[in-house]
Structure formats: C-alpha cells, structure tokens
C-alpha cells in the first residue's frame, strides 16, 4: 500500500513536470525568439512578454505542483529512489508528450538520447 502511494506520487510528479515543460516550450514558441526581442526592446520587454503568456504561467504552475509532489514523495520514500526515478522517467515522458502535443520530430537519435540520459541518471545513485 505504501509503495503504491509512493509510485502514485512519483507518477504525478513525472506527469506534472513533463506537462509543465511541454507548456513552457509551447509558450516560448508562441512568443518567438527571446534574444531578438531582447535586442530590439530590452530585457524588461522580454520579462513582460513571458509573464503575460498564459501558457507560460500554466506551465510554471505545473512545475510548482510537481515540486510539491516531489516533496511529498520524498517524505514517503528514500531520496535515493525518488529523485533519480522521477528525473529519469521525466526525460522519457517529456519525449512522448513532445511527440504527441508539440508534434516534434522525435527520431531514433532523440529516442536513443532520451534512453541514454534516463539510464545515466539512474546510475548516478549507485
């Protein structure tokens, strides 16, 4: 039961942080090249553009929610399990969400890279 609770928390954490990243990505694509905006209108304009984008705020809310899920999961399980498990699953989950929601071209090279990073992060706790 306890381990089920823990994995539900990890699952929510992974989903929330991947969804947050996907929303941030979509929001930034909508705003356009931040460097161009900074050169043309200055740093304050960049911050203004970003903060006024609703999708950015929604993504940020998802990331904050995932942070609280992380704290909850950490209080239920070992840090050596929770941190790497959630981080590595997030890379795979984000790739899947990016493929379906952002229609990114996730080719073999990118799947392989996501898998390598995922296993690499898992090895970090050993």
């Amino acid at each position: 039961m306890n381990s089920l609770k823990l994995w539900v928390a990890i699952g929510m954490l992974v989903l929330a942080s991947s969804a947050g990243d996907v929303m941030l990505s979509a929001a930034m694509k909508r705003i356009g090249d931040l460097d161009d905006i900074r050169i043309r209108k200055g740093l304050l304009a960049v911050i203004g553009h970003v903060v006024r984008e609703k999708l950015f705020l929604l993504g940020l809310a998802c990331l904050i929610f995932s942070f609280f899920c992380l704290l909850t999961a950490l209080s239920w399980g070992d840090a050596s399990l929770v941190a790497p498990a959630s981080a590595s699953l997030t890379y795979i989950c984000s790739a899947i969400l990016a493929k379906f929601f952002l229609h990114e071209n996730v080719d073999r090279r990118r799947w392989l890279s996501a898998a390598l990073v995922c296993v690499g992060v898992l090895l970090l706790v050993k």
């Binding site: 990243d21 996907v22 941030l24 990505s25 930034m28 694509k29 705003i31 356009g32 090249d33 931040l34 460097d35 970003v50 981080a87 890379y91 984000s94 790739a95 990016a98 493929k99 952002l102 229609h103 990114e104 071209n105 996730v106 080719d107 090279r109 990118r110 392989l112 890279s113 996501a114 898998a115 390598l116 990073v117 296993v119 690499g120 992060v121 898992l122 090895l123 970090l124 050993k126």
Partner: protein
C-alpha cells in the same frame, strides 16, 4: 549585392555562436548553481524545524546568492533555448547539469564519486552529444516559419507596390 552576402554569412555565424553559448549555459549553470547552494548550506549548518526561520540567513550567504544567480541564469537560458529549439533537443542539455555536478562535487566539494556514477556521467554525456549533433528544430516547423515570413514579405512588397 556583394556587401550583403558576407553580412548574411556573419549573421549566420553569430546566430550559431549564440545558440552554442545558450546550450552551454543551460548545461553548466544548472549544476554549478546546485553545487554553490550545497557549499552555502554547508556553511549554514543543519536547519531544525523548531528554528526554521534560520533558513532566511541563507539569503545573506554569498555562496547561496551566487548559486541563486546561476539558477536564474539557467532558467533564462532554458526559456531562450525553448523559444527557438525543440523540447527534446533542449532537455538532454539540462541533464548535463548532473555531469557538471559530479565533476564539481569531486574536485570542488571533495566528495567521493563511485565508478557507477562516472558510468552514469558517461551515458548522459553520450546522450547529450548525440542529440546536440542533430537538428535543433523540427524541419516541418522551420518551413512553417519560413512560409509565414514569406507571406509577410509578400504582403510588404504588395503594400510597397
């Protein structure tokens, strides 16, 4: 015409360098920020729940302030990169933060890093290297942008005419 072409080339090179710089900033700032925070929290000592206000002392510790600045720089670079590259291209670079953390933990904080960890560092480096060599933006998108630009240019020409 002859002056336009080198300028275009220069702009291309500038954009390329800018992208490499942002990618490196994402890779390095995250890990460095974390290590600086850890260094600052070592100074501060353990936080007890009964004296939780002690945590506000963290904001006057120079290491922690520097760490927060690095993490803010990371977030800015991350958002900038997302404004012109795919999420699946940028995300592996964030994982490179773990590699930086491992090196800094070993040589700056003098912590022990196990062979398994070095193996993980190697795998992450391979993953990041693999994706960084590929295209940064989905091809279909680029053409979409180009067609939008082309439409705008056509409009402008039309208006001028």
């Amino acid at each position: 015409m002859s002056t336009l072409r080198p300028r275009g080339l220069q702009a291309d090179i500038r954009v390329k360098f800018k992208k490499i710089f942002i990618y490196l900033a994402i890779a390095c700032c995250n890990g460095t920020g974390d290590v600086l925070l850890k260094r600052g929290m070592d100074n501060l000592g353990e936080i007890h729940l009964n004296h939780w206000t002690h945590i506000f002392n963290a904001f006057v510790d120079p290491w922690i302030v520097l760490g927060i600045l690095f993490l803010a720089g990371f977030f800015y670079a991350y958002l900038t990169a997302l404004s012109w590259a795919d999420l699946t291209y940028v995300l592996p670079a964030t994982a490179f933060g773990y590699v930086v953390t491992a090196f800094l933990s070993r040589f700056f904080l003098h912590e022990a890093v196990s062979p398994w960890r070095w193996a993980g560092v190697l795998l992450i480096t391979c993953g990041v290297g693999l994706v960084a060599r590929g295209p940064s933006l989905t091809e279909r998108r680029t053409t979409e942008h180009r067609t939008k630009d082309a439409v705008l240019a056509d409009k402008e020409q039309h208006e001028l005419a």
